[in-house]
Amino acid sequence: MQIKQKLTKIVGAANVSDDPGALLSYSRDCSLSTPRMPNYIARPKNTEEVQAVIKLANESGVPVVPCSSGIHFYGNTIPNMGGIVLDMRRMNKILDVDLDNKMVRVEPGVTWGQLQAETAKYKMMGLGPLLPHPLKSVLTSHLEREPMLIPKFEYAGSMVTVEVVFADGQAFRTGSACVPGFPDKSMAEGVNPGGPGYLSYQWLVQGAQGTMGVVTWAKVKMAPKPRIDKTFFIPFEQLDDAVQMVYSIQRRMIGEECLILNDVNLAAILAKKWPADYENLKRVLAPWTVILVSGGGWRRPEEKIEYEEDGLREAAAELHIPELPTSLPGLPGIERELPGILRNAWPEKKPYWKFAAKGASQDVFFYTTMDRASEFTQVLSQVAAESGYCIDDIGVYVQPMEYGRSCHFECSFPYNPNNGDEVAIVSNLYAEAAETALGLGGYFSRPYGIIADMVYERAGGYSAAMKKVKKILDPNNIMSPGRLCF
């Protein structure tokens, strides 16, 4: 039997495709990565089907590349060596909402919009990244370790336990979800991420870009949604000053969402009419804005905001910041809207904010400590200028992590994907910027495409250890081969 026939037997004819038109859409994404056609698309509806496809792939030595979102930004679902793309979007159920433990269990196809709508029914919210694309899968965000907007937790990610199908076809449940009878008949409720035993499997699966296994559901944390909010937009001329303010805020352990955006990014997010609003906002906004949402808790929300505001004022006074604006010029009412915007996916009907200016954007992001954000901004701007890129177009986003212990630093380079010159400039710039940042100690914890090569070249010991693990979990290297250092 041919692979296609076997796949058809597993997932049904309607869910298998080798039509070139269908394959083409999986061969490329929004990144500058080199396209590569898959041989088949399979759309499983449950774990058993995933297991069967993976067993088939393993037995046949055919690569399997999972994808869960309707859009991809980093080239990490392009089948570098062909094979079967396992499109998980049919598995899009929210399996359960666990209110006691403030967690929700989602299948891979669940999008952020879907999740936030469901959690809102319980006055809860998912802990997500900055304005995810409406087609973005919640699971993908967590597997990719995208940074959360709220730095008040001691974890950067809120994924707890998963079910993962390894290359041998075993559906393995991580952490305390491994117990017999989970979830309905067990004492355990799947809330402990560690183990079973002395390994933490979900750590090995996260950041793996589909190279270790296919996750079929994940239990992720929610947080209580603040009853009321007060939003502050604190303008700065210098990034260093904005960073000092964020350090001060985070050391006081106040606020919910907290981030720094430059004028380009903030304008792109807030512009309603393009390009007029965008251009106007870029003119009127301060070069840097610290956004802080003070959220009133579940009880006595006004009093919570009151003490947080006091703390904020104290921090501002220490840094000689005269005002703490709660509005933005030219955007009446934005302070009331913003918490809702930040706690949801980007609206489906609006052009995605990163692409709105020019049609596409290439991001360079890494972790560093906040005190180095300004240095990286300058250096990467210089690299951009030297590459012939207009530095006024660069979007910068600094996301403090875990009480400001470090930050996700992201430079976005919008470009016109239909303009060959711009594509070439950004393509060169991307490589150059990554190499420069890496050389200066920027830490690429989730390296994609060409950056992976740069990172693993510098981390020989890590690559060697990873290859040993990979050999155990995927001895025939069928899971997303050609990715990372595999």
Partner: protein, 492 residues
């Protein structure tokens, strides 16, 4: 049998002759560690070695591989699994590696295994920062505890132990050095994940591997924002305490009508995101507190007398409110707490604003106060599981009593973390030293029942839990075989 002469001489050349010894007395003193399974045989190591750097550790491990000599690692001996199970083991004692560096602004510390929690905490306090000191005591090694367990009551606010791990430097069983997180690329410890798949997943699961996969020589560890006011110690050595500033902290002990109310109140406190510490207080804790300053014998004297009276009193909920940054915040937390107490028909009593177990953790109840005459089974899951688990364990205990002693109401302790996302439940059972066998039998029975009922235990017995937990030991065995082909890293 002894360590081959050539191997020994090589070890001497690595660390210098004064830092390796095969003197029987040196080795005898390194035979045991704390809290280990009493039924396991502990052998006197063949030699004891005290490296001072990662390079030396690496060289020692390579010698161990060359001569196929097993090695075991320790740094304070306050550990449950680091003892030699095989003849001719090299006991690697890391306490000379005690460098400590703190990045005050970015809130992390770089520590070697010889650094204890109390040492780190003392330096952090001066900077308005803190770490969390595990309940076993501030004399524990930060590295060992964090890679193995690392939880403590202030984890209610500051998360689980494993989350504190940032960059890690690790000498693998064959002597290769693995640098993880930002250390792999950026030569700094500020971030723990990756690059790519996060190999901290090899380092520890629910608990760590206790040197079965090599030796951790340095870690970056998160530290947390703290109050700027000083905590003042008070009292004499047998009965010291830490006075907490009353404008920043407030302890409440809260009595509810039922255990269910306690649990619901805990969940609600979590949803309201207040407090630094939330935990249940079984009557035995009250016994320990009241007999503080009279030692282990005094505790038993007190317990014999007061236990039956305490049996009529049920557990309390104990909450430490935390006004970091402002008086108003403390007031807010207090109002919210008292609202919750009212809603669940509890009665709250303010307790003295002092601490013996959370900031420096001077009293390790299980190990020390009851003098080792105990065993515990620890569940590590949701608050709901904690309650169910406790009931199961109670039933099993009844079948072993006597000689297991009376708990007087309950000795089970629920300590939730991360604002209630996960909770530790420690079921403590006690027996006289000569009745230790009964505790071991009790433990085995608890494991069997919990495996059947789908409970999640902290340190599972792989023979019992492996078959029902996705055969995880198979994966562990493969990992060990791949990373430790000579089977020298703390072999069993």
């Amino acid at each position: 049998m002894s360590i081959p002469k050539e191997a020994y001489q090589t070890l001497q050349s690595i660390v210098g002759p004064e830092w390796v010894s095969d003197d029987p007395a040196i080795c005898e003193a390194d035979r045991y560690c704390s809290l280990s399974d009493p039924t396991d045989e502990k052998r006197r190591p063949g030699c004891s070695i005290e490296p001072s750097s990662t390079d030396e550790v690496q060289a020692i491990v390579k010698v161990a591989n060359r001569y196929k000599l097993p090695f075991v690692v320790t740094s304070t001996f306050y550990s449950s699994g680091t003892y030699a199970r095989k003849e001719n083991s090299i006991l690697i004692d890391l306490k000379r590696m005690n460098k400590l560096e703190i990045d005050e602004k970015n809130q992390y510390a770089i520590v070697e295994p010889g650094v204890t929690f109390s040492a780190l905490q003392a330096d952090l306090f001066k900077m308005g920062l803190c770490t969390f000191v595990p309940g076993c005591g501030g004399q524990a090694s930060v590295v060992a505890n964090t890679v193995n367990m690392g939880d403590a009551p202030i984890g209610w606010r500051h998360g689980l132990g494993y989350q504190r791990l940032l960059g890690v430097e690790w000498v693998l069983p064959e002597g290769d050095i693995l640098k993880m997180g930002s250390l792999s690329n950026a030569n700094d410890f500020f971030w723990g994940e990756g690059p790519g798949p996060d190999l901290r997943g090899l380092l520890r699961g629910c608990a760590g591997h206790q040197s079965k996969l090599g030796i951790i020589t340095r870690i970056g560890v998160k530290v947390f924002p703290f109050i700027s006011e000083e905590l003042e110690p008070s009292g004499w050595s047998y009965h010291t305490t830490m006075m907490l500033p009353t404008n920043r902290f407030k302890w409440y002990n809260i009595r509810f009508y039922s255990h269910e109310d306690i649990i619901n109140a805990m969940f609600e406190i979590g949803r309201c995101e207040i407090a630094l510490v939330v935990m249940t207080v079984p009557p035995i804790f009250r016994g320990v507190a009241r007999s503080r300053g009279v030692g282990c014998g005094g505790f038993w004297e007190y317990w014999k007398e007061a236990g039956p009276k305490l049996a009529r009193k049920q557990e309390d909920l104990r909450v430490l409110l935390y006004g970091i940054g402002s008086d108003k915040r403390l007031e807010y937390e207090e109002k919210v707490l008292l609202d919750i107490v009212k809603d669940f028909n509890g009665s709250a009593r303010e307790a003295p604003c002092q601490d013996e177990t959370n900031f420096m953790a001077a009293d390790a109840i299980c190990a020390n106060v009851v003098g080792g005459r105990f065993a515990s089974e620890v569940s590590y899951e949701s608050i709901n599981q904690a309650t169910r688990y406790s009931k199961e364990v109670d039933k099993i205990t009844d079948a072993h009593r006597p000689p297991i002693l009376q708990e007087y109401n309950t000795t089970d302790w629920i300590c939730p973390y991360e604002l209630g996302y996960v909770a530790k439940m420690e079921c403590l059972r006690m027996a006289a030293a000569e009745d230790n066998y009964a505790l071991q039998e009790w433990k085995r029975d608890v494991e069997v029942v919990c495996a059947e009922r789908g409970a999640y235990a902290l340190v599972p017995n792989s023979d019992v839990f492996g078959p029902v937990w996705g055969n995880y030991p198979e994966k562990e065995d493969k990992i060990r075989a791949a990373f430790d082909p000579n089977h020298v890293s703390s072999p069993e």
